[in-house]
């Protein structure tokens, strides 16, 4: 991993607390000491998984520079985002793009869909001339399998959800970003189209070197698309590692609960019968681990002190006292591992598993 070049985006021990203060409202910790490093050199293909309330959306807002951490920092190319200069803004938006969850809400109903494509071209100075800009737009649309003639000039309500979402991917591609934040890009899209859109994301990564951070609650698609994964629970990183390790052999009880709650299409019909998640004592509040009140393996210690991250295997981390005999890892070290993942392990198994025709060239 190159230490020479500053990472593209780095969230360093970010804490975000809402509420509290003068209003007297109960404060909520949306993010608790979360670190995530997105390297400049090699494009990453990682997932951030969590359910509602996990803080994953708040994390995305931080990475997009749309909110400030309560403590900790978010750095863009080594410089704090909060104090960034105006001049940086254009480059920042070129480097970092996003695709959002709701294909209906992502379009201003007042304008035709061309608006959403033309704004970045003009404001981020993506093309030397208007005509060149048009050419770029058409190329981007075709790349995601949309026909310009059938898409341009229409209003958002005249396109289907799947088309709108693909158009968003085309729009993100226009700036040739180094990182694409994909915030639940397919959860509101039909099942048969999901694979197509996810493939498009994967191709952007493999063929065009775009880093992808896939934010989702769907572990199955995270498993299929990404190399490494980070599990968030109520603002804290509870587990991190390669998708094979985390999903096939989950260490943290919450991850285990998540994985066992997934209904499998094929395979045994015991999903309904599993009693996962039905634990008592959900009323007791914990000063320690946030999962204590739902954890089947909870110990006394868990209620009193919050566990640190432990290294369970090479490249794998879990925040649980069950692994207290393993070495402790701090949040910022953990953050740097998400991208490199199995680098220390040797990447070959993970690469071959992405059964595509093109062999992995990096990693």
């Amino acid at each position: 991993m190159s230490e020479i070049e500053a990472p593209l985006i780095e969230a360093r021990r970010v804490v975000k607390v809402f509420g509290g203060g003068l209003s007297g409202a109960r404060h909520t910790t949306a993010l608790d000491d979360v670190s995530l490093t997105i390297p400049a050199a090699e494009p990453m293909l990682a997932a951030v998984a969590g359910e509602s309330g996990s803080g994953k959306s708040t994390l995305v807002l931080h990475l997009m520079g749309m909110t400030r951490p309560t403590s900790g920092q978010v750095l863009y190319q080594g410089r704090d985002l909060v104090t960034r200069r105006r001049g940086d803004r254009v480059q920042f938006h070129r480097d970092i793009q996003a695709v959002f969850q709701d294909p209906y809400d992502a379009y201003n109903p007042f304008y035709r869909v061309d608006h959403v494509l033309q704004v970045p071209v003009s404001h981020l100075k993506l093309a030397p001339s208007r005509r060149q800009g048009q050419v770029m737009i058409r190329e981007a649309l075709e790349r995601v399998g949309l026909r310009p003639g059938d898409t341009l000039g229409r209003f958002p309500h005249q396109l289907s959800g799947g088309q709108r979402q693909r158009l968003m991917v085309a729009r993100a591609w226009l700036t040739r970003p180094k990182l694409l934040l994909a915030d639940e890009p397919v959860s509101m899209v039909d099942a048969s189209l999901r694979a197509t859109i996810l493939n498009e994301l994967r191709q952007l990564h493999q063929d065009l070197g775009v880093g992808i951070l896939y934010i989702t609650h769907d572990l199955t698609t995270a498993y299929q698309l990404c190399r490494t994964i980070l599990i968030l629970y109520r603002g804290a990183v509870v587990e991190q590692g390669t998708v094979e390790e985390v999903i096939s052999k989950p260490k943290h009880p919450y991850t285990q609960l998540l994985v066992s709650s997934i209904p499998r299409v094929k395979g045994a019909h015991d999903w309904l019968d599993s009693k996962a998640g039905e634990t008592a004592d959900s009323e007791r509040s914990s000063a320690g681990c946030r999962f204590a009140n739902r954890c089947p393996a909870v110990m006394d210690r868990c209620w009193r002190e919050p566990p640190p991250l432990y290294r369970t295997e090479v490249g794998s981390l879990a925040r649980c006292f069950l692994y207290a005999d393993r070495p402790e890892v701090t949040s910022d070290v953990a953050g740097r591992e998400l991208a490199s993942g199995p680098a220390a392990n040797g990447a070959a198994p993970a690469a071959a598993a992405l059964s595509n025709d093109k062999p992995e060239s990096k990693d």
Partner: protein, 348 residues
Amino acid sequence: MAEAPVLRVQNLRVNYTTRPGLAPAVNDVTFSLRPGERLGLIGESGSGKTTTAMAIMRLLRPPARITAGRVLLGDRDVMSMNQSQLRRVRLSEVALVPQGAMNSLNPVMRVGEQIRDGIAAHGGQREAAQIRTRVAQLLERVGLPPDVARQYPHQLSGGMKQRVAIAIAASLQPKVIIADEPTSALDVVVQRQVIATLAEVQKQARSAVLLIGHDMGLVAQFAHTVGVLYGGRLVELGPAEQIVSSPRHPYTRMLVDSLPELEGKQRLVGIPGLPPALSAMPTGCPFHPRCPWAFDACRASMPPTLEAEEGRQVACHLYPKHSSLPEPPAPPPAQEPADRDAAEAGHV
């Protein structure tokens, strides 16, 4: 299984009358439910699944109109009932857990009152104490503590609200419970709890359940029988395991193939093209523009629904000539963007 079906939907057709020339949203759909059976209807957007559910309860509003078919509850046709008969039938015999049930609860009424209202409206001339007991009983059945009755909907989580909706639906032990996407917008852990609740409640009330959904994994795990809707047509119906392991209809097969799994990394395959719009429905079989097995007959005429064997239906011109789905005639089309968009537009 010689029991008489508790619900029979026969040749149901629903049209949207916004403009002439729109294809039916539900096109000649036939299926039945036996007592205690769990039937899952799968479909993507535009398949007509929610419209079907609403039609069965006669809850459709213009511009949607039921233009043909019967819905037999026992031996009475719901389509020929008047408003007061319908009111009696709804909730006591057929109950609905609507889509977004968490938003269909009255925000200014306590939860207990809402459950009680349903019971009382159906001639529950019981005393207050009896009703209170019943409400507590229902809440317990869905896994909620009895003091939830005193709370307002906004004080409950999404999963809890959904379970309240299920409690209301089960309150009069109806013969059929229709659950329309009961777990959309819920997290996977809560989702499992809600579906388990539905199963539990169904067993206790001895109701049949019609579960409408788009998540094949979820539906296949819950339902005994699965029906697949596409373009308003019921293209396949059969026992859940068979539908998933040996689908007969090309759409079912491609849908199952497109679902990501947790056992080993695989190539992500979607179904190229888009579901057809009602204003641009292809001639003949609605799926043929996206179907690798399509041949001339598919463009020319709508495939009839065939009963392959007991409890197994399929609507595809490949049958009854074939006994199971053959390998596709050519590899699934690696389409050029231009071709792909032609398919998307729904034209041949």
